[in-house]
Symmetry: C2
Subunit: 558 residues, 2 copies
């Protein structure tokens, strides 16, 4: 009898369920639910309360509606019987978190908190907690907190305690009313199983937890704010489950939502980027997985814990149980090209694309493909949205150098692609230099499908072969694999994520191999990139920050 | 009786005559002749001989056709009687030069040389003599030639001896056949008067001559090429006339071409940028005249000779007799904005401009005007076409720094304007620091008419008031003023260019004054510009040259 697992991927605008054949990972049916409230960044639904700039919220009921809409849809589309679905897994954006009551009820669904922004889900890209992040960083440095090294020396305003502290700062009564604070990915698993669990991935990457040291101590939290001293014991838990574990089984209620059988196995919650690693078949050190879209997440497994400067995090059991999972990132990749196309494309190109039935990205890729490495004379620093790794500095900005009156749009476009490839190479080299070897790259996400030129440039610049996921929805596939592991081998699933990955993950036959003559030119160009990277990024010339400072003074003077 | 003078301005694509009232400089009539062969940069007319890249030639008969077409036209349009036109002056692009026979016949009109590119007029922007310029510079440095200091330490491929040496190198039989080599501006005066004269302006700025030292010595020319040893005595003359002198009178033949009276006074030849100085009323030190178009020429008068590093030239009697005339330049100003509009303007802006009946430059100026100094966070180096002053380096390239995903086209546009203003300030400051004071700026040319935002930014960045020429055709007006001086006071003209300028030159009532709060912000931004200018421009980081080197290697490998 064929068995199936379902993976549900909770994105920024929508949720997606994929029904997968457990034997070989074949994706049998897919269904997408677009959140009815999407990203809430202007006005609170119902009350009409206006939000401040940099806020980004979500409605937790949209997550339940995702279950209610997509799971029945994939069952219907595939004709698979509910009894043949043996396991369910989810992955989520992170840190996306919310305050709830002891029974799991989100504060924002209670009438008394409906009009209070801090009662809602704070989405990963809620950026209003920067003052709190600054305080967390300064206090950690002052108190010599060792955990800071695991996060490249700086934590982000997007992370869990930045958001918690913002609630305490700005809405102490909501903080007080919250019995629990948790990641949305753990919350949806709670809704499916009736059991509150916490996963090692978000605990490690977003909430400063480590398997060996646990959370930062109470004295540290007390220094941040006396009210925060007991946050872990009062609002969270010290019991953190490694990913790959079984969280529980579907409740009667969740079975009614989904059309699945009560008792179906449910995996411990997971995160979109991290779950993609086994989905592309990577379960051991040596490969760097790149989830390539608007930004890039870089995931690497290691046997040992190393301090690699400027990485987003190193978490034991954070990606694959039994390994240290390293995460790095580039904050502006697909976004970069979208910016360029929106702001810098001459009318003639737009017209040519239209006449030839191409989109402008395709036309630019075609024109840029006709250039040789080094031919444009251009060099860029890929910091249009700051630098996430290894400089960990949001205040760095973009640079383009080498322009002449003969410079054309496709040359700039190619220079921007090359700049992001140099950025990846800095990350690869930094891992290598600090004891985390990287022999090959494995890519998934939207970009590898869309831009072959980009993939070839990454291979040429990094000097490494790039393999590409066969699945266009790697995170959902990865979540389904964890569902199959939650079910276990005896139920027709797998006893480990290694076994699941071996059978269910697939790569395309076509790979991108470095072209030696391109590598030679890119080696020279990368040397020049690195010199500019260090000059502007490591304090020798802080002009980018000075300009931001002047910009801020000018705005506030006006 | 009202007296008139005619100024004829020979540009790159056309020649223009302006008939001017000598008493007050009123421009009574204008006529333009577009050269029938324009810029010859692909194929030689008649023979169809193909030209190499970087060549740019002209047909000397187009200059005569300019006289034949425009002067009769302004007489007709104005109704002025030929006898009331007391003087004629010309100005020309430079160095634009040609080889001729002893009687002034251009070699290219002789059947035996018609198909020989080197027999034609080499236009100022003929850039194929770079190897010769390199040899001239290297040889001069090796032989410690003191004159090199007067030209910022480097002479250009555009200049007279670069072009002469290219003829000798590549077509020695043409060199041999040429009885004379001279600037086109001197040649047209010869055609009008029947007398060969040479003007101090082109001799000084383009042919290494100075009033006190004359030309470089024979030993130097011999070192360049034994065949060049006697170039001055054989092909040129050591008699150089200061501008402001009378070259002679119209011949019978030239009177027939123009419809003027034989015997009409004709001024010594002049150059377009230089003749604009008296045309905006500047006849003494302290003012910098900026001729602002695709590029900017900066002209300053000084009482003494100073070595100002990185200037294009310092020539006694070069601009106004009795003063040292300093020239500096920025190679990419209007060209910069044209490049931007052609290559980097999003479709939405093009559409908005069309809907509102604006051209895109106007729309960008409007949007950029709404930004405050420093608000964009952008900073650029204005080297899209190299740096003419003070770095004198054609291999420098453009830089844009500070871009984010929120950066918009009007912000980049404004940053490019600001960069050219910083470039002007570097020139102003360098003059000041080396003993040539500059108290105010006086602008003429196309840009001041078109872009008020740009003018205000220049005032704010340089901290100096900018006055603007009342004439839209300052060079032609300046040429007419020299025509009135050639006629002399007794004939109803003037006895000196000072007197002519006092009566005939006019400025607009509206000036651009620095706004103190903008100056404060720009002072900070200029500090950052200067640091980047020196870092990339003075050898600390030669990445721009390295990229050009790589580009050249890649192209030649292909």
């Amino acid at each position: 009898m064929t068995k199936y697992a379902i993976g549900i991927d909770f994105g920024t605008e929508s949720g997606r369920a994929v029904l997968v054949d457990v034997a070989d990972g074949r994706e049998v049916a897919t269904s997408v639910y677009t959140y009815s409230h999407g990203v809430i960044d202007k006005v609170l639904p119902g009350s009409g309360v206006r939000l401040e700039p940099d806020w980004a919220l979500q409605d937790p009921e949209d997550y339940l509606r995702t279950f209610q809409n997509t799971v029945p849809a994939v069952l219907k589309e595939s004709g698979v019987k509910p009894g043949d679905v043996i396991g369910l897994g989810v992955d989520f954006t992170a840190c996306t978190m919310l305050p709830v009551k002891a029974d799991g009820t989100p504060l924002c669904v209670l009438p008394e908190f409906r009009a209070r922004p801090h009662a809602w889900v704070k989405l990963w890209k809620h950026h209003a907690a920067q003052p709190e992040a600054d305080k967390i960083n300064t206090t950690a440095r002052n108190m010599n907190q060792g955990w800071l090294d695991r996060y490249g020396g700086k934590i982000s305003s997007e992370w869990f305690f930045s958001k918690v502290l913002q609630i305490l700062d700005e809405a102490p009564e909501i903080y007080a009313a919250a019995d629990r604070m948790l990641e949305a990915t753990d919350w949806v698993i709670w809704q499916l199983t009736g059991v509150e669990t916490r996963n090692s991935c978000t605990a490690g990457y977003k909430a400063l937890w480590s398997k060996r040291e646990g959370f930062p101590d109470k004295a540290y939290f007390k220094s941040l704010d006396p009210g925060l001293e007991n946050v872990v014991d009062e609002k969270m838990t010290r019991v953190i489950q490694p990913i790959g574990n079984r969280a529980g089984e579907l409740t009667e209620q969740a079975a009614r939502w989904t059309g699945l059988k009560p008792g179906t196995a449910v995996a411990i919650a997971n995160v979109d980027a991290h779950v993609a690693v086994p989905a592309v078949g990577v379960t051991k050190p040596g490969s760097m997985v790149m989830i390539m879209g608007t930004s890039i997440c870089h995931m690497v497994l290691g046997d040992e814990e190393h301090v690699v400067p400027g990485m987003c995090g190193c978490v034991e059991d954070g990606i694959i149980p039994g390994f240290f999972g390293y995460e790095a990132g580039q904050s502006c990749v697909g976004d970069h090209f979208a910016w360029f196309v929106e702001n810098c494309i001459p009318v003639a190109y737009e017209r040519e694309a239209k006449e030839r039935g191409l989109d402008v990205h395709q036309l630019l890729e075609e024109k840029a493909s006709q250039l040789k490495p080094g031919e444009s004379g251009l060099l860029a620093l890929d910091w249009w949205n700051g630098n996430r790794s290894v400089l960990v500095d949001v205040d760095l900005t973009g640079l383009l150098l080498g322009a002449t009156l003969a410079t054309r749009a496709e040359e700039i476009y190619r220079a921007l692609i090359e700049a992001t490839a140099y950025g990846t190479r800095v990350i690869v080299d930094t891992f290598q230099q600090h004891g985390v070897p990287i022999h090959e790259l494995v890519a998934c996400g939207g970009l590898p499908e869309k831009n072959k030129l980009l993939m070839q440039i990454y291979a040429d610049v990094t000097g490494r072969e790039i393999k590409v996921s066969a699945s266009k929805q790697a995170p959902a596939l990865g979540a389904a694999m964890f569902g199959a592991v939650a079910a276990g081998g005896a139920a027709g699933g797998y006893d480990s994520i290694y076994a699941a990955a071996q059978n269910m993950a697939h790569l395309k036959a076509e790979t991108f191999k470095p072209i030696p003559e391109n590598q030679k030119v890119y080696a020279k160009l990368f040397g020049e990139y690195l010199r500019l990277h260090d000059y502007f990024g490591r304090g020798e010339n802080n002009v980018m920050k000075t300009l931001k400072q002047i910009k801020s003074e000018v705005k506030h003077a006006g």
